[in-house]
């Protein structure tokens, strides 16, 4: 391996622990790559080069003196700029929080630090994580490494772009309505949208307390499992994690032979572009070859579940932002302000009726899938659209665009299900295509097991964007 920046997270971590690669070498390689590609991609909002090198040197010294601190010893990483590091700015993609200094560290960041990870900087995101494309009028758009004229997807835009471009071996994103899965799909990386409640959201910027989830984007399912092993489990600071188990490594390594994969009869398979349809069909055949049983499933009406998710998100986001809507409304970009104001459409009764329906909606989903272990679905009808095709500012078409881009995303958030997005092919134009491996409730380990098996049989996750190859 000539360039350590190209290593997967698992390989980089193993090499550092085995002292075949120093943390300083890995950090320097990533910083050099960031310097080259950041001006083209706009994936970072800040790079803490000097601090990262000091931390890397300390990690190397500690390793020589007393062995590895944890599985991520000395691994440099950057995360979406909504995970708080005590004493560091966390702008959350906004003007309102520009320069705000976090008073505490996010639980997930503390857990990664306890495992030995070090900080490279912070990554681009949609303003307050409220946008699915990667547009941000304050920061400029993040750009897709496969074609810089195209969107990264959002709201974890920098996480998708930086992992795809090999500027960080992994990155945390968040997923409230597709914000991990869309960048994973559009940028050709692997992304884990975790089950609601299994990963702490404490001291991370909230958007919707019913729908927010935390998870990694990385090159492989194996890499996502390494992060999951570190961040999963109950946290006294986040009440929805109460009683939740930690990561089950054995379950995440189980063979998929004999397990059941459900293929939706409608909604997720409607109106796919030919490239996406072909990748989906090929993936079904791959799972068949891996020994999985393929069955058809008729899911409950996903348009209704999507509508419920949109209603809950709109009200909860408006509630979080009400203090600033009262005092600093002009400091939002028009699109985000408009979307926040949309939460004023719904009454308290309508909101609570929709929230109360969440359990029955999940019960209907579970009944529909029966004993199926995994539902396989495309992440989107299409590959990454162009930036100029999707940038409506606050214009009238913005809400329609948002609904179209997130069409296959929202039901899973309302139902709280785990999903792994895996690269499954490329379009004729060379743009990545991702598929959703949707698990049963709390079946995060199972979606990783399926992802691992899929990636052992396929190679779409190994491709590096053409733009990046010269510098490899």
């Amino acid at each position: 391996m000539s360039n350590p920046a190209l290593l997967s997270l698992s390989d980089m971590a193993a090499r550092i622990r085995a002292r075949k690669l120093s943390s300083v070498e890995a950090t320097k390689a990533l910083l050099a790559r960031i310097e080259t590609w950041q001006p083209k991609l706009n994936a970072f909002v800040c790079v803490d080069a000097e601090e990262a090198l000091q931390a890397a040197q300390a990690a190397d010294d500690d390793l020589a003196r007393s062995g590895p601190k944890g599985p991520l010893h000395g691994v440099p990483m950057a995360h979406k700029d909504m995970y708080y590091f005590k004493g560091k700015p966390a702008g959350c993609g906004s003007k309102i929080r520009d320069g705000w200094i976090a008073p505490e560290t996010s639980t997930v960041i503390s857990r990664l630090q306890d495992a030995g990870a070090i900080r490279l900087g912070a990554l681009h995101m949609a303003e307050f994580a409220y946008g699915p494309t990667g547009h941000n009028a304050h920061l400029g758009p993040a750009r897709n490494p496969w074609d810089v004229a195209r969107i990264t997807g959002g709201s974890s835009s920098g996480s998708g772009a930086a992992v795809a471009a090999r500027l960080t071996p992994a990155a945390l994103g968040s997923d409230t309505g597709g914000s991990i899965r869309l960048p994973a799909h559009f940028c050709g990386v692997t992304g884990l949208k975790t089950s609601y409640g299994r990963v702490s959201r404490a001291n991370a910027m909230p958007l919707s307390f019913t729908l927010d989830t935390v998870g990694p984007l990385a090159q492989t399912a194996e890499d996502c499992a390494l992060i999951a092993e570190t961040i999963f489990g109950a946290d006294p600071l986040d009440p929805v994690t109460a009683g939740m188990p930690g990561w089950d490594r054995e379950a995440a390594q189980r063979p998929v032979r004999g397990l059941k994969v459900g293929i939706p009869k409608s909604f997720y398979v409607d109106d796919l572009t030919p490239d996406v349809a072909a990748a989906f069909d090929k993936a079904i055949k791959t799972f068949e070859k891996l020994g999985a049983q393929i069955v058809s499933v008729e899911l409950p009406d996903q348009t209704l579940v999507s509508a419920a998710a949109l209603l809950v998100l709109a009200v909860e986001a408006a509630s979080y932002h009400a203090p600033w809507l009262r005092t600093r409304a002009e400091d939002y970009t028009p699109q985000v302000r408009n979307r926040l104001e949309n939460g004023l459409a719904y009454s308290a009764i309508e909101y609570l009726e929709t929230l109360r329906w969440r359990g029955p909606a999940l019960a209907a989903h579970v009944a529909a899938i029966g004993d199926v272990d995994l539902v396989l679905a495309p992440a989107s009808r299409e590959v990454a659209p162009r930036i100029d095709e999707t940038d409506f500012g606050g214009g009238g078409n913005a809400e329609q665009m948002v609904v179209a881009v997130t069409r296959f995303m929202r039901p899973v958030n309302f139902l709280g299900l785990p999903v792994l997005v895996v690269p499954a092919g490329h379009s004729a134009a060379g743009l990545p295509i991702g598929l959703q491996l949707i698990g049963r409730p709390y079946g995060d380990e199972t979606v990783i097991a399926f992802g691992r098996a899929f990636q052992q049989a396929t190679d779409a996750h190994l491709r590096v964007p053409e733009l990046m190859r010269d510098a490899a």
Binding site: T210, E341, N342, R358, G359, E399, G416, R440
Partner: protein, 66 residues
């Protein structure tokens, strides 16, 4: 659930929330949320009285089992 949201209702909810919105916002919001409102109203979801939001966790734990 209502099958239509009027600009007047939006203005009233905004006032109750003490959020000042531009005059152009209520009709824009009406348009932006119409599809969600209509879809939820069409379904006319009926819930047992005992169902609460946290029922979700009970269902999820049960649904985890095959």
């Amino acid at each position: 659930m209502a099958d239509k949201v009027t600009p007047e209702r939006i203005a009233a909810i905004a006032a109750a929330a003490r959020v000042s919105i531009p005059e152009t916002s209520p009709p824009r919001i009406t348009n932006a949320t119409a599809a969600v409102i209509l879809r939820m109203a069409e379904e006319n979801i009926q819930l047992a009285m005992e169902v609460e939001p946290a029922t979700f966790f009970v269902v999820a734990r049960e649904g985890a089992k095959k």
